[in-house]
């Protein structure tokens, strides 16, 4: 029980830090609000869905990036999806990066992407963690 409490506190702290760092925005709070008695695992379901979806999308994006010349339209549509999911879940930073990515796609700037690739991929790591945590949170 105590351990559970500790875990809960940890999760709360983690959640707060994600907010403070700007990884998440109010949309996530809204998402949390949507979870009630009738729908107890809502956040977890959504987040799991998001990760599954994202993983697939990122794989597709990486595939597309390997091609040369780059198919910007395809990339753009992937990024659109990715961005939509992210904004729904409240992943603010990912969304911002996606927007920028799309901007580069639109201008056909392959180099821009190369620059952005690093932070983008890095970004996903804390995300995963957080999401999993928050999922765990929901379980408890």
């Amino acid at each position: 029980m105590e351990r559970n409490n500790q875990l809960q506190r940890q999760v709360a702290l983690m959640r707060q830090s994600l907010f403070d760092q700007g990884y998440l925005d109010e949309q996530f709070v809204q998402l949390e609000e949507l979870q009630d008695d009738t729908n107890p695992n809502f956040v977890e379901e959504v987040v799991t869905l998001y990760y599954r979806d994202s993983a697939r999308l990122i794989a597709s994006i990486e595939q597309a990036l390997d091609k040369s010349p780059l198919d910007f339209n395809k990339l753009d549509s992937y990024m659109h999806q990715f961005k939509g999911s992210s904004s729904s879940i409240g992943g603010r930073k990912v969304k911002t990066e996606c927007s920028q990515f799309r901007e580069y796609c639109r201008t056909g700037n392959g180099e821009g992407w190369q620059d952005k690739q690093g932070p983008e991929v890095q970004l996903l790591a804390p995300h995963r963690k957080k999401k999993r945590d928050s999922a765990h949170n929901s379980f408890c």
Binding site: Q27, Q30, L34, F42, L49, S88, G90, T96
Partner: protein, 1032 residues
């Protein structure tokens, strides 16, 4: 006689003039002539002429417009007609001139003729008289010859001597008015001369010398005359009248004239006249008439020789022509100034003047012949007027008058034509200007619409970008800036929307829809819109809707809301303290209570502030002056329902000088107003237009520093017994579900102010709670004990609570300790956040639950629920909670389709909508959505993502709309029964676009594809509510 003639001619000429006038008039306007002109012409010609000219002028001026109208029809182009008119005018002038000339000539010739006739008749008259008198004298002389032959030659001795003859002739002189004397000469042959001279005692004297040496009349002595030389025969005068006694014994045959005379007379046996000659004694001009006296009675066919043989003597009469004619003329008409000449024209080449002079200078002469009974001599009388003929003034004036009239008519005609041309020119100019103005107006509207539209598109970009910017890494200051920029942008967009509305209304493109709606819900929404502001300001906001207003109305809820929002927005903008009170009544109801409702004039208003008299604001409405609207309540199902809505505030009011232009677009009270309060001043003008579209009227009354009251009427249809039972049933279910839990409860409202209490009562009653109003807490306490039906809740007005906190505390205790099983709950009705907060601090323990004003049924219900603990809702009264509640109210039990290819989005959206109680169905592609939305279906609304692989949202929407259209058409045509399609006559599922991309998904594009609105992802409760509520 001549005067009559002239008048007759004048009339004739006048008639001619009028006829020509009518002719011209008829040319100008056939139509007019047929209608009335002919009649007038007839009466005019028969009646006086002054009247016609008046009529004529009136007609002409009156019909000028008509003429002008016909003018175009009659003559194609302006130029042709102008030339035609000009020609006509010249012809007219020419004709008139010639005609007047003709009149002049005709009339003067007539006058001359007349003169001639007059002269001839006068001359003839004189000649006849002269002749008659002469003949009388001649006859008498002849008679005298018979006398002498009878008494001198027939008797022996002679019965006549000189004395007898003289006396006789003197006494019978009156018988011979023209003779100055008669004498008798006897025929004496030379053989008888001596005897004759002896017998007479005087020699026969000759006349020649006398003629050669004329002597003076007075000392004329016949004795000096020489004796006649020896002749074959002699004719000495033996008898003579006294006047010519000097001729006695003078031999007539010795005078040349006399001799011829005598010889001629005795040969012919008739009277013979001499040529005029100077008489012997008087030397005056005279003629001598000679008759022969025969010894025997000769037969009429006797030969001259026989006559000469039978001649006994000669009787002669001296005619003193000059004096005689004078006497005659004087006797006749001395007034007539005519000159008479009497001439002997026996010798044609040398007529001998017997009387008269040539003094007359008039060329006109008339000659009449005189017959003095002497066949050998011819006489004639020549008459002239003494004066020259006078100027023919009548002819001149008539002709001139006619000319003047004709010229005047011509001038009038000319002026008319000119004026017509001018008017026509002006008309064309005006038309041109009008066209230009209209074009300018259209251009303005177009410009406005285009510009507004064009501004909106980039504005959406700006707003979208701002929205995105807000979600990037910003510090507090930056966020503040962005928020301000976004707020300004939103304000600008709403302004542009208003301008577009205005343009639409002006071009008449705005059409109202007729759908069923719940007036109370709409007012609740509007109220919630303003609740934040009113709470901030501490202004009390209240809505009261009369019970008699039907639950459901048919009309345009969106526009109705717009009006109310406009009016309330204005009110809240200008009100700092007091209240804003919206009342909705039936017009019928207001009319009935016009006399009763006098209390409102006192201080009994919602907040206690004085207000502008509400009734004055509708004083000018036509609805109330028309009696036909008075009909007994309840009205039948499809009767129009006239609502009268008043928005009353206690704001700054409108200055009197600005009141007249309140409804003019872009007119604000003053420039300072827009600086302090913002706004464009277009809202009221739009409201007025909208109200007029709803067949209503809008009016207001405002007293500066007291407040304003705007009132409008709107006509709706009663929607209570609508065919669309499906929807209404659903509505009822849904509204009931919220209210059922309070059904049958009892409440007490503590409020000393009746108007406010009424409002509170109205809202609480809507939840199905029985309400009683008392004026203070003591009454509540007393009634608690006595009353039989238990009291579930007590609603205390904040004012009452604060005023008497001791009593309040006491009453709380009392209530808690009341012997009922469930003690009545105590509520405080608070109007502003600030007051609530302060109270929270001071009296936390005893503080009852607070219900924030403005009161709305849903809000009240939520507050009650929270406090009474019936439902386990999270019990905080945040603003989000409010909209969530209303959204739940809106979406509960509704089936909603969400279409998105992104599963995450789908899940989140579904979760959000489910949260509001909706039944959510998900679809992952446009095609799936189409199959689900094929009628009949039971979806209340559809949220559609726009960017989807395969079929995007626009395309899917288009397909769905096409499907709906075909089904609707089939139902209409009866091909498919309505029952098979769920009893819905007109399929139109609201489709809302769902996109994160605010830039591309512009409103217009959505609308173009048949979508009804759009929400941006991720869902915001507020936005969702706003969009969905539009279709409630």
């Amino acid at each position: 006689m001549s005067l009559f003639h002239v008048i007759g001619f004048g009339l004739k000429a006048g008639q001619l003039i009028w006829m020509s006038c009518w002719w011209i008039v008829s040319v100008i306007s056939m139509n007019w002539f047929i209608n009335g002109g002919l009649m007038d012409a007839k009466t005019g010609l028969l009646g006086g002429d002054g009247k016609i000219s008046l009529n004529w002028r009136e007609k002409v001026s009156g019909k000028i417009s008509k003429i002008q109208h016909q003018y175009d029809h009659l003559f194609g182009s302006k130029k042709i007609s102008n030339a035609l008119w000009r020609k006509l005018l010249y012809t007219w002038v020419l004709c008139a001139t010639m005609f007047s000339l003709w009149i002049f000539l005709y009339m003067s010739s007539q006058a001359i003729e007349k003169r001639k006739e007059t002269l001839a008749s006068m001359c003839d008259e004189r000649a006849r008289m002269l002749q008659d008198q002469f003949n009388v004298s001649m006859n008498h002389v002849q008679a005298m010859s018979i006398l002498i032959s009878t008494f001198h030659h027939g008797k022996s001795p002679s019965a006549i001597d000189q004395i007898t003859f003289a006396r006789y002739t003197n006494r019978t002189a009156f018988e011979r008015p023209l003779t100055s004397g008669v004498a008798y000469a006897v025929r004496v042959l030379h053989s008888e001369r001596a005897e004759f001279e002896k017998q007479q005692g005087r020699p026969i004297r000759r006349m020649d010398t006398l003629e050669q040496n004329p002597v003076h009349k007075d000392d004329f002595d016949p004795e000096v005359l020489e004796p006649s030389p020896i002749q074959e025969e002699y004719a000495p005068v033996i008898f003579a009248q006294d006047t010519i006694s000097h001729v006695i014994s003078i031999d007539l045959l010795s005078g040349k004239e006399d001799r011829e005379n005598v010889l001629l007379a005795r040969a012919s046996g008739k009277g013979v006249l001499t040529a005029p000659f100077r008489l012997i004694k008087t030397k005056r001009l005279g003629v001598i008439l000679t008759f022969a006296v025969y010894k025997i009675d000769l037969p009429s066919n006797a030969t001259p020789d026989e006559r000469i043989q039978a001649t006994a003597g000669y009787i002669g009469g001296v005619f003193h022509i000059q004096s005689l004619v004078e006497k005659l003329l004087q006797q006749l008409a001395s007034k007539q100034n005519i000159v008479v000449n009497v001439l002997d024209t026996t010798n044609q080449s040398h007529p001998i003047s017997m009387y008269g002079s040539d003094e007359a200078d008039d060329a006109l002469e008339y000659v009449s012949t005189l017959n003095f009974g002497d066949p050998f001599r011819k006489h004639e009388m020549r008459c002239r007027f003494k004066q020259k003929p006078p100027w023919p003034w009548l002819a001149i004036t008539t002709a001139y008058g006619f000319l003047v009239i004709a010229m005047l008519i011509g001038h009038i005609f000319y002026a008319t034509v000119n004026r017509i041309a001018k008017v026509e020119d002006d008309y064309h100019k005006m038309m041109e200007l009008k066209k230009r103005a209209e074009a300018a107006d259209v251009a303005k509207s177009q410009f406005l619409a285009t510009v507004s539209h064009e501004i909106r598109t980039p504005m959406n970009g700006v707003l979208g970008m701002l929205h995105m910017l807000m979600h990037t890494d910003l510090d507090v200051t930056q966020q503040d800036y962005v928020r301000t920029a976004q707020a300004s942008g939103k304000a600008l967009v709403s302004l542009i929307n208003e301008v577009l509305d205005q343009a639409k209304i002006e071009s008449g493109k705005l059409e109202l829809e007729a759908v069923q709606f719940d007036l109370r819900a709409i007012l609740d929404d509007v109220l919630s819109l303003f609740s934040g502001k009113s709470q901030e300001k501490g202004v009390e906001l209240a809505v009261f809707i009369s019970d008699r207003v039907p639950e459901k109305l048919i009309g345009d809820p969106g526009r109705f809301r717009q009006i109310i929002t406009n009016l309330m927005g204005n009110s809240i903008k200008f009100t700092e303290k007091g209240h804003i009170f919206v009342t909705v009544h039936l017009a019928q109801e207001v009319m009935d209570s016009l006399d009763v409702e006098t209390e409102s004039s006192s201080k009994n208003t919602l907040s206690g502030f004085q207000v502008a008299e509400r009734r004055l604001s509708w004083a000018k409405f036509k609805t109330f002056s028309q009696e036909e609207h008075v009909r007994p309540y309840p009205s039948s199902t499809y009767d129009p329902i006239i609502l009268i809505v008043s928005v009353e505030d206690t704001g700054v009011g409108i200055p009197f000088e600005a009141q007249s232009r309140v409804f003019t677009p872009f007119m604000q009270v003053g420039p300072s107003i827009s600086r302090t309060h913002g706004g464009t001043g277009i809202g009221l003008s739009i409201s007025k237009c909208l109200v007029e579209l709803m067949n209503g009227e809008i009016g207001f009354v405002s007293i500066p520093n007291v407040g304003s009251t705007f009132t409008f009427t709107a006509v709706f249809n009663n929607g209570c017994s609508n065919l669309n039972e499906y929807t209404s049933q659903q509505m009822n279910n849904q509204s009931n579900s919220a209210n059922l839990e309070f059904e049958g409860m009892n409440a007490v409202v503590v409020d000393p102010r009746s108007v406010r209490a009424k409002v509170s009562k109205y809202h609480v009653q809507r939840l199905g709670i029985q309400v009683e109003i008392v004026s203070d807490l003591n009454q509540v306490l007393s009634s608690l004990k006595s009353r039989n039906p238990r009291i579930d809740m007590v609603l205390v007005e904040e004012e009452v609570w604060n005023n008497d906190s001791d009593l309040s505390v006491l009453s709380v205790d009392q209530l808690r300790r009341s012997d009922q099983k469930v003690p009545p709950k105590l509520f405080r009705l608070a109007k502003s956040i600030s007051s609530t907060r302060s109270d929270n601090v001071t009296s936390d323990a005893h503080s009852p639950a607070v219900i924030m004003k403005p009161l709305r049924a849903s809000m009240v219900a939520a507050s009650l629920q929270r406090t009474m603990g019936n439902v386990g809702n999270k019990g905080n009264c945040r603003n989000g909670e409010v909209s969530r509640l209303s959204l739940q109210h809106l979406l509960l039990g509704r089936k909603i389709l969400i279409v998105d290819d992104n599963k995450v989005n789908l899940k989140v959206a579904a979760g959000a909508l489910k949260r509001y109680g909706a039944e959510v169905v998900c679809a992952e592609s446009g095609k799936e959505a189409i199959s689900l939305l094929t009628p009949p279906h039971s979806f209340y609304a559809c949220f559609m993502d726009i960017q989807m692989p395969g079929m995007d949202g626009f395309e899917a929407t288009k397909t769905i709309r096409d499907m709906e259209k075909s089904v609707n058409r089939k139902i209409k045509l009866g091909e498919v029964s309505a029952e098979a399609h769920g009893n819905v006559l007109n399929w139109h599922v609201p489709i809302l676009a769902m996109t994160a991309d605010v830039i591309h998904a512009t409103h217009e594009q959505c609308m173009k594809c048949g979508m009804d609105g759009y929400v941006s992802k991720p869902f915001e409760a507020e936005q969702l509510y706003r969009e969905v509520s539009r279709f409630s």
